[in-house]
């Protein structure tokens, strides 16, 4: 087993042996066994290469050779100023803050969050068995190297358990910070969210970097949407420009449950987001949205894996990307319709806007249908700004630069508008912040702001 560490730059197996007894749940047999089993799987699987179909267009390259340190279990030492500077820190809502994989109680407002929310560490200390049915049960650590890595090393995260029939009026914000230090670090946040029958919840994860250096953020969220439950889940990634982020959301939606997800990638050297969603009960619904912005040499890879495992389920997928510079994007949307998932209704769409001649996109829909009564459509587009639309806007007095900016902004806006659309309180702080971020990101942002001012 020790030899598995040889091709990588970091001795994961050695680090595990060193830290195992200090990891949360160390004295709980099933947690210990889960971690060890996951580490064994990681040692066998090792980091994926481009020979792996699911990683064909994403080369982890230097990430596999970097000696990422596993931070000690001591308290985090992030200055208040650095914290406040971290993007999307304050969304005006109750939040849990994690820094480099550790819970930061002083910066969290746990008390405002009712009794339904706590941390992974706290549960594994106090009442580990309540997690047994879920922790490690939805993430595919048996065959996904990064899910395995997370499962072996998970340090902390949020545990949200909304009882049957309860509506959380406020969204929950999980602010997950990685600090870019001289020595690259890695973090493995694990969230477990279970929303009971007929319950409603909105969860926003913001994964952000402080500083501009290298680190590896490797979060995993396991999510169960109960029968008739409604869940809105956002993952926003604004990592350091040098950072690696490889994360997974693994969701299971029970009968008549509704899940909306928003996968928003704004920054990071290499960002890979996997979304696995199983529609497990009759009439379950999923709306999976994504938006990715990339510039420079950034690489963004979204993999969605949607499983229709029950009849009469509906799924909608809309992923949009805007690429500038020499950036690269990958979209791989797999839809698997089981034999008994009759009357499946599924639509997938991936559109990409290229702002430069050097940006590149690889998009691949993949439908596997074993039922005979299904309605499945998919479409992918890669294009540049529509010249006819630019002309139309200019013919109404709008400058060429503002017209281009407006079209790019609007391209993104379709996804932005739906962020938080399902929120109970109908405010859209995150959507507004996101819109501002996109304006700031666009070269013509000032012009668009000016054009729209009134």
């Amino acid at each position: 087993m020790t030899s598995a560490a040889a091709p990588t730059g970091h001795d994961y197996v050695g680090a595990f042996a060193e830290s195992e007894n200090r990891l949360p749940g160390a004295n709980v047999a099933w947690v210990r066994n889960l971690r060890r089993a996951a580490l064994d799987r990681f040692a066998v699987l090792s980091f994926p290469t481009t020979a792996d179909e699911d990683w064909r267009f994403t080369n982890l390259g230097a990430a596999t050779k970097t000696d990422f340190q596993f931070p000690s279990l001591g308290r985090e030492a992030l200055s208040t100023a650095a914290f406040e500077d971290s993007a999307f820190a304050d969304l005006g809502m109750a939040r849990l803050v994690f820094v480099d994989g550790r819970f930061s109680p002083d910066r969290s407002t746990l008390s405002d969050l009712g009794g339904y929310i706590t941390t992974l560490c706290a549960v594994l200390d106090d009442d580990p068995d309540r997690l047994r049915a879920h922790l490690g049960q939805h993430a595919k650590w048996q065959d996904r190297a990064f899910d395995a890595l997370n499962t072996a090393f998970m340090t902390d995260g949020a545990v949200i358990d909304v009882p049957d029939g309860v509506t959380l009026d406020e969204p929950i914000h999980l602010h997950i910070i990685s600090t870019a230090d001289e020595q690259p670090m890695r973090s493995h946040i694990r969230n477990v969210i279970t929303v009971g029958r007929g319950a409603r919840a909105t969860v926003i994860e913001t994964h952000v970097g402080v500083g501009s250096g290298v680190y590896l953020s490797n979060p995993v969220t396991e999510l169960v949407v109960g029968e008739d439950a409604v869940v809105d889940h956002t993952v926003l990634r604004h990592e350091s420009p040098e950072a690696y982020h490889v994360g997974t959301l693994s969701a299971r939606v029970c009968a008549r449950g509704e899940l909306s997800t928003h996968s928003l990638t704004l920054r990071g050297a290499l960002v890979r987001g996997d979304l696995r969603c199983v529609l497990a009960g009759d009439h379950a619904r999923a709306q999976l949205d994504g938006l990715y912005l990339a510039t420079g040499t950034a690489h963004v890879d979204n993999h969605t894996h949607l499983e229709h495992a029950a009849p009469n389920c509906t799924s909608r997928e809309l992923y949009k990307g805007i690429l500038d510079g020499q950036s690269r994007a990958v979209f791989h949307g797999r839809i698997l319709v089981h034999q008994d998932a009759q009357d499946t209704d599924s639509k997938q769409s991936n559109s990409n806007l290229l702002l430069s001649d050097d940006a590149r996109v690889n998009t691949k829909p993949q439908l596997e249908i074993y039922a005979d009564q299904v309605k499945c459509t998919h479409g992918a587009t890669i294009g540049q700004i529509d010249a006819d639309a630019v002309f139309y806007l200019r013919s109404r007095g709008i400058s060429e630069a503002a017209a281009r900016g407006l079209l790019v902004y609007s391209f993104a806006n379709e996804v932005v508008e739906r962020v938080n659309a399902g929120r109970v309180d109908h405010t859209n702080e995150l959507g507004d912040r996101l819109a501002k971020h996109i304006l700031a990101w666009l070269p013509q942002g000032d012009m668009i702001r000016e054009a729209l001012a009134a």
Partner: protein, 247 residues
């Protein structure tokens, strides 16, 4: 000085000369109609005046309000008061009509030295203009022309014209695809904009819109030139005899 003066305009599309010496003078306050059979150069003329790419001017000049129109960027023409109502309005998914109108109106007001409208005045203004065109206010919230019916798109063009108050509006086949009710609404909108300071050019294949918006002058474009000019009766004559009489 005429508001628009086209002198011996020649233009080519992909190497084919479509306009072969167009001459036209339009004074403020006038309504002109340019008619002609398919392929006579009507839409080419509209696009050349609006500044669309792909049309090469090979000769002649166009003065708009004393300025060299052909030397101006597309947006400068619009800001100077030139408006083209498109034959095929472009669908722009994602850009809400309201955003778009705000951006356009602000750009044009800025050029005219007017203050930008505040949000409330802007909404009041667009509601007033929408009522004029009997536009469903829900259309204002939708993306520009996206999923609009043919008639809604054309109405949206005239609505934009009403909002932007150009000096010269060129309506390119605005009547095509309109049913009789929509045509009357569009015509009312156009008539409401007739005025001493404004000129309107109606490019059309058929005479029927001219029953509602009665032109001062009618010109027949044929094989890239104005072959005949007259008053509104010329349109009726063409309706009777077809364009062969011109040839």
């Amino acid at each position: 000085m005429a508001l628009l003066e086209i002198r011996d305009l020649h233009a080519a599309v992909e190497g084919d000369e479509i306009l072969r010496g167009v001459n036209l003078i339009v004074e403020a306050g006038e309504v002109h109609s340019i008619m002609g059979p398919n392929g006579s150069g009507k839409s080419t003329l509209a696009h050349v005046l609006a500044g669309r790419e792909g049309y090469r001017v090979t000769g002649g000049e166009v003065l708009f309000d004393g300025r060299d129109l052909l030397a101006m960027a597309v947006e400068e023409r619009a800001r100077a008061g030139f408006f083209l109502a498109f034959q095929y309005p472009v669908e722009i998914p994602g850009v809400s009509n309201t955003y778009f109108l705000k951006a356009a109106l602000n750009a044009i007001r800025k050029e005219r030295g007017l203050e930008e409208l505040d949000a409330m005045d802007f909404m009041t203004l667009i509601k007033e203009k929408a009522a004029l065109l009997k536009m469903d206010e829900a259309l204002l919230k939708r993306a520009v022309n996206h999923g609009f019916s043919g008639g809604e798109k054309k109405r949206n063009e005239i609505f934009q014209m009403a909002l932007l108050e150009p000096k010269l509006a060129l309506l390119d086949e605005t009547d095509s695809g309109l049913d009789i009710d929509a045509m009357q609404i569009v015509a009312e909108g156009v008539n409401a904009l007739r005025g001493e300071d404004r000129a309107i050019i109606i490019v059309t294949h058929y005479q029927r819109l001219l029953n509602y918006v009665v032109p001062d002058f009618v010109h027949v474009l044929y094989e890239g030139r104005i072959a005949r000019s007259g008053d509104k009766d010329l349109a009726l004559e063409l309706e009777e005899d077809g364009y062969r009489s011109v040839a």
